[in-house]
Amino acid sequence: MSGTMPLPRWVDVILLPVLNVTLAFIIGGIVVLAVGENPIEAVRIMLYGAFGYGYGFGFTLYYTTNFIFAGLAVAVAYHGGLFNIGGEGQAYVGGLGAILVALAVGGLHWALALPLIMIAAALFAGTWAFIPGWLQARRGSHVVITTIMMNFIATSMMSYIISRILKPENVNSDESARIAEVTRVPFLSEWIPFLNNTPVNISLFIALLALVGVYVLIWHTKFGYELRTMGHNGVAARYAGMSNARLIMVTMAISGALVGMVAVNDTAGAHGRLLLGYVAGTGFVGIAVAFMGKAHPIGVGLSALLFGVLYQGGQELAFTMPAITREMIVTIQALVILFTGAMSNMLRRPVEFAFMAARSRREPDRVAQEKEA
């Protein structure tokens, strides 16, 4: 394209995302300045809130766990050229699977119940994501629109199920019965007192395993190869004999199953019951996490941690600087999606020119030759 040469890999993978994210934070800082607060002081409070003491650190890890699942879900679909905006609804429906099994096997030791809960959550959430996948593969309806619609349908359906069916008689707020203590996914603070009774639980390790699993799936299996081929060029994939329809459906189901694990962390772990609207935007944060991490598991892990820090630090910030509400984090999230997702080409050109200039100063002859050729 237009006489520039391909950038070195590290620029593409590390430098550009870092620059884009930095830009998002600079603008976020300007917004903080606009309401009369000191952005540097805000960052200091955030970091302290996220890492400074055991209680904060525990919550940071708890949020990170959710964001890894949500980010991986978006990332897996993205490799196949699919944009799954439905994580929010899928995780919500996954909560139904988790609670039904957890209540049904109530009294079973958690080590035995956990796999069952995971399977149920994955099945419910995966099915919820499979529907848009099926609709796109078989009926040609765009997955973006259908996943948005499915989010709303999930909200209405779950609100009915929780408030009318699952809610026990003696409870006033809209929530299910509680999971038996022995069945509930245990908090890490049972073994590590430093974490001070925070909701971070065994799911953190499931999330880390999921990162590795997705890496293997995408880059070291036949399925992953086909998925990436479809993502780069669907027509080429079809000519190479791959079934796009099957790939789309399987990918969406996997994506849904991944974000369904949020239910294991929250419903079966942190809350110990199914709450109305429990997902609370986690599915959407996944979009920012996936883009920031360039849909690579290492990147997803790091950006999930960053958003975990932002969320927990944001709580501390809202407490210390009343002018800064938690919604500042949503704003940052929006800027991250904007700059790393939609405007990622904005900084590419200047960086390309900078590299051209640097190289022509170093090796003027070769660049001239390349230009002639």
Binding site: M150, I337, L338, A342
Partner: protein, 320 residues
């Protein structure tokens, strides 16, 4: 009769922002730019309108501010999807988050009411307009309730919304701009070859989008409600998008789809707690989900096929 009239009045009231947002989306998507950001634009403009109306005490200045906010959002969307050839869907999603975060953040910092703006009253609000002879005709049977009850007494923005439908149809099918707009969404290369600027046309379409959806947002906070409250657009941008698909990107069917979705919403308020024969009590949640279910069925081709403008969603790359 009176029940029906009152449901229909509510239908018109709740359809107004849908119609404005839906027509807004029509201009954008006809030009080849997918606009998932309608929701964010509605929310952002509702906030802008409420803030300025509260500060100046003038609803018209509020309206202007609302449109201004959605123009800024459209400019960002255009920059990302036209100039930088970014993914339009991602850009739209980002705008929705930006609106959701910024409105509550700034609202909280400026007014300290948990993201809400101060209540609006007097000149800071758009009130219903009495059509001529509405008072006199109120007593006449049949015509009375329909004219004075149903058609009269809405805010100016509602009349603009309904007027915008025939105007859009005329622009789309009877003007040179409309022809080009339809062409740039179907085959931008043809326009480029004919020496017209694809980018400029798309920016113009996005500007019209912003004006319409900005009015829709201003309606929410200065006409329907008397202040801005957090997440007050509550999915209407997405419903408008669904209606647009339902209408197959045509103005009159868009009006029909918005009225249908509005009617469902009005019916839902009406039916709360009411037992119907045979079905029993209809859960509100089922009514809320209905427009989305219908849209999915439509998209799947079970109730006819919806085919979007061909170039929509794809950035245009000039040949070099």
């Amino acid at each position: 009769m009176e029940d029906l009239i009152s449901v229909l009045i509510t239908t018109i009231r709740v359809s107004t922002p849908l119609i404005l947002a839906c027509l807004a989306g029509l201009y954008s998507e006809r030009s080849g730019i997918v606009d998932i950001g309608l929701e964010g634009k509605l929310l952002g403009s509702a906030f802008g309108a409420a803030v300025v109306a509260a500060l100046t005490g003038n609803a018209w200045l509020g309206l202007l501010a609302g449109v201004g906010v959605s123009l800024v959002f459209s400019a960002i969307h255009g920059l990302a999807s036209i100039n930088f050839r970014g993914n339009q869907i991602i850009s739209g999603v980002a705008l929705n988050f930006l609106a959701s975060g910024l409105t509550v953040f700034l609202g909280g910092a400026w007014f300290g009411r948990g993201g809400n703006t101060p209540p609006l009253s007097g000149d800071a609000r758009f009130y219903g307009i009495q059509l001529p002879f509405a008072q006199e005709l109120a007593g006449v049977p049949v015509i009375g309730p329909i004219y004075s009850g149903l058609l009269s007494g809405h805010s100016i923005l509602t009349y603009i919304a309904f007027l915008a439908v025939p105007v859009t149809a005329w622009v789309l099918w009877r003007t040179r701009f409309g022809l080009r707009l339809r062409a740039v969404g179907e085959n931008p290369k043809a326009l480029d070859t004919a020496g017209m600027s694809v980018s400029w046309l798309r920016y113009k379409a996005l500007a019209i989008t912003a004006v319409l959806v900005g009015m829709g947002g201003a309606y929410l906070s200065t006409a329907q409600a008397a202040s801005f409250s957090r997440e007050m657009s509550s999915g209407r941008g997405y419903i408008a998008l669904a209606a647009l698909i339902f209408a197959k990107w045509k103005p009159y069917p868009a009006l029909g789809a918005c009225l249908l979705f509005g009617f469902l919403e009005a019916l839902q308020y009406r039916l709360q707690g009411v037992r119907l024969p045979v079905i029993g009590e209809v859960p509100t949640q089922a009514m809320q989900a209905l427009p989305y279910v219908l849209t999915i069925l439509l998209l799947a081709g079970f109730v006819g096929r919806a085919i979007a403008p061909k170039a929509s969603g794809q950035p245009y790359v000039k040949e070099r």
